[in-house]
């Protein structure tokens, strides 16, 4: 009897360093499954961010580059321009993409660079120890907003999917989640679609993935899922914000 369920080839055997209840492992697996299903591992280059996923290159079993904080879209641009035949994805968190790397992601998306961005949004800086991110919710306590995010002082959380979908250049922009099984199935479909647009040389694609960070939220994994569903998903609504078939 053959195996009916196995680890994707696009993942290594390494044990991840992620915290209990973290969703990076699930998202890694979805990306790896898509790479396997499309048969593109041998021509895929991933780009790791600075943040919790900085060591993603230890877990994905394909060529990988490691970027400086926020600069992955510029590196992906460099690769795709000189090697359009390679499949390129960036894997970035919310501090990386929505704060320090805001310029790089907007311009890459606006040029219609043909790579895929997996944007993991858990409303907080993870690796540096739970500081406020551009995506932190109003009133959310973090180590640099101990009284809760004060929107009068630092503004409202940035909605990246909405923001990028205002660009007139065709693209595929979607927001998904992986905090419950039903979301995971949809997220995988979206990731696959994003890679397929890239394969067809069609457009820039970004899958934002609403995620949890029990450690830095100070919650149990179960509490974190509930808080994410109640609080994050009402502000970061799931769905497709833009497809290349749409008129600009």
């Amino acid at each position: 009897m053959g195996k009916t369920f196995k680890k994707p080839e696009a993942l290594t055997d390494a044990h991840t360093h992620y915290c209990p209840g973290c969703t990076h492992g699930v998202i890694h697996r979805l990306v790896a499954e898509v790479i396997d299903e499309l048969g593109i591992r041998g021509r895929t280059v991933g780009i790791a961010p600075v943040g919790c996923a900085v060591l993603a290159y230890n877990y994905f079993n394909c060529d990988f580059q490691e970027a400086a904080h926020g600069r992955a879209p510029a590196m992906a641009t460099g690769i795709k321009r000189v090697r359009p035949d390679l499949m390129v994805f960036t894997y970035q968190g919310d501090g990386d993409l929505a704060s320090i790397g805001m310029g790089e992601i907007i311009h890459a998306a606006n040029r219609g660079e043909k790579f895929t961005t997996i944007f993991v949004n858990n409303a907080v800086y993870g690796m540096t120890g739970g500081q406020m991110a551009p995506t932190t919710m109003p009133g959310q306590r973090t180590t640099t907003s101990p009284m809760g995010r004060n929107v009068a002082d630092v503004g409202m959380p940035v909605q990246m999917a909405e923001l990028l979908s205002t660009l007139k250049t065709p693209g595929y922009i979607t927001r998904q989640s992986v905090i419950k099984p039903r979301y995971i199935t949809r997220a995988k479909k979206a990731i696959k679609r994003a890679f397929e647009y890239q394969m067809a040389g069609k457009c820039f694609s970004m899958v934002e993935v609403v995620s949890t960070c029990p450690t830095n939220w100070g919650m149990t994994p179960v509490e974190a899922v509930k808080w994410a569903e109640d609080t994050l998903l009402s502000y970061y609504q799931l769905g497709e914000f833009k497809t290349p078939e749409q008129e600009g």
Binding site: L55, Y57, D63, Q65, E66, A74, G78, R81, V82
Partner: protein, 358 residues
């Protein structure tokens, strides 16, 4: 050799890269080198190359990093404030050991400074403008022809050392028109990068993935990584020193050290003084890192030589390296200007006469 044509320095630099076999260029406009981007925006499509105007010098630095890490020959051109922004990427590129070529057509600083020629970025280029222990191989042309030749040499050197190479010119090198030839024998084929580049496992027919990174969390591994980088910089010190000696055969009373545009004025001054019966020797470093340390030490030590002067279009940067080489055996002084005005031969002659015996 091809035939001689009259070209502006900036355009010649762009053409030289193509002739050297580099067909990938990313850049952001900045005076006084925007002509390179303008020229290549037309030329790259003609030769089937890549031209992209990035959104900032920060992004351009990483476009080079990504392209180079994927195995491509790639370069950019910029000027001082732009190179400051690229310095983050240069540190990562040096750490991750990727070959890239950066051209800095220096303008006056600090800050916005001015748009006229300067040599104020010596420290930034030679001592490391970004963070961490790294070095670039830095070449400083004194003519448009030399800029062309150094551009063409830069790519194989970057690949030999898997390290960024910088061509350090000043606004005059970029803006000046001079006759140039593109030497065919300096055209090189890119080296095989399969051992390390993230060019796709299928491309290199391998099951082994490649990683391009600069992160070493383990202290021993990071130390070893830095020792490996240092070994490369030491090899550059042994193998890549380039300099031009001038009037060093006779009994010169003073030794002038000068590079780039400034050295051409100094040469005229030395020739004029010789006609007046005053012997002055000169060394023009063509590589600023590695620096011609032994050569300067030896030339300064000649019995007839009473003093050494570093003449540069900065407030005294290279002079620190000259002092390091001379090791207190002769008095070392500095002369220069850095507002954008180039000192005249008469001015230099006057300074030399005043300081000739130390």
């Amino acid at each position: 050799m091809g035939k001689k044509i009259l070209m502006k320095g900036n355009e010649a630099i762009g053409e030289a890269a193509i002739r050297a076999g580099c067909l990938n260029y990313f850049a952001y406009p900045i005076t006084p080198q925007s002509e390179v981007a303008e020229y290549l925006s037309k030329r790259m499509p003609e030769v089937g190359g890549v031209f992209l105007q990035g959104e900032s010098e920060v992004a351009v630095g990483y476009m080079l990093f990504g392209a180079s890490a994927a195995g491509a020959r790639v370069f950019t051109t910029s000027s001082s404030p732009g190179v400051s922004l690229m310095s983050e990427a240069i540190s990562y590129i040096a750490g991750a050991q990727c070959p890239c070529v950066f051209v800095n057509i220096i303008r006056g600083g600090p800050g916005l400074g001015g748009i006229l020629p300067s040599q104020g970025d010596y420290f930034q280029s030679v001592k490391g403008g970004g963070h961490g222990d790294y070095r670039m191989l830095v070449m400083a042309p004194a003519s448009v022809q030399e800029a062309v030749e150094m551009m063409m040499m830069a790519f194989p050197l970057a690949e030999k050392y898997r390290n960024p190479v910088m061509i350090l010119g000043d606004g005059l090198i970029g803006q000046m028109m001079e006759p140039v030839e593109f030497p065919d024998d300096l055209r090189t084929e890119p080296t095989d990068k399969d051992a390390w580049a993230t060019n796709g496992m299928e491309t290199r027919g391998s099951d082994k993935r490649n990683l391009v990174k600069s992160l070493y969390l383990d202290p021993e591994m990071l130390n070893n990584h830095n020792l490996h980088l240092k070994a490369k910089y030491d090899q550059m010190r042994r193998e890549e020193v380039r300099y031009e000696p001038f009037n060093l055969d006779g009994d010169y009373r003073m030794l002038v050290i000068s590079y780039g545009t400034m050295s051409r004025v100094c040469k005229t001054a030395v020739e004029n003084l010789k006609a007046e019966g005053l012997e002055v020797g000169m060394i023009r470093p063509q590589t600023l890192f590695p620096f011609p340390e032994e050569e300067i030490r030896e030339a300064a030590g000649k019995e007839s030589c009473k003093s050494v002067i570093s003449i540069e279009m900065s407030m005294g940067q290279m002079v620190e390296d000259v002092e390091r080489c001379v090791r207190g055996r002769r008095p070392v002084t500095w002369y220069g200007k850095c507002g954008g005005e180039v000192p005249t031969p008469e001015e230099i002659m006057q300074v030399i006469k005043e300081r000739i015996d130390g």
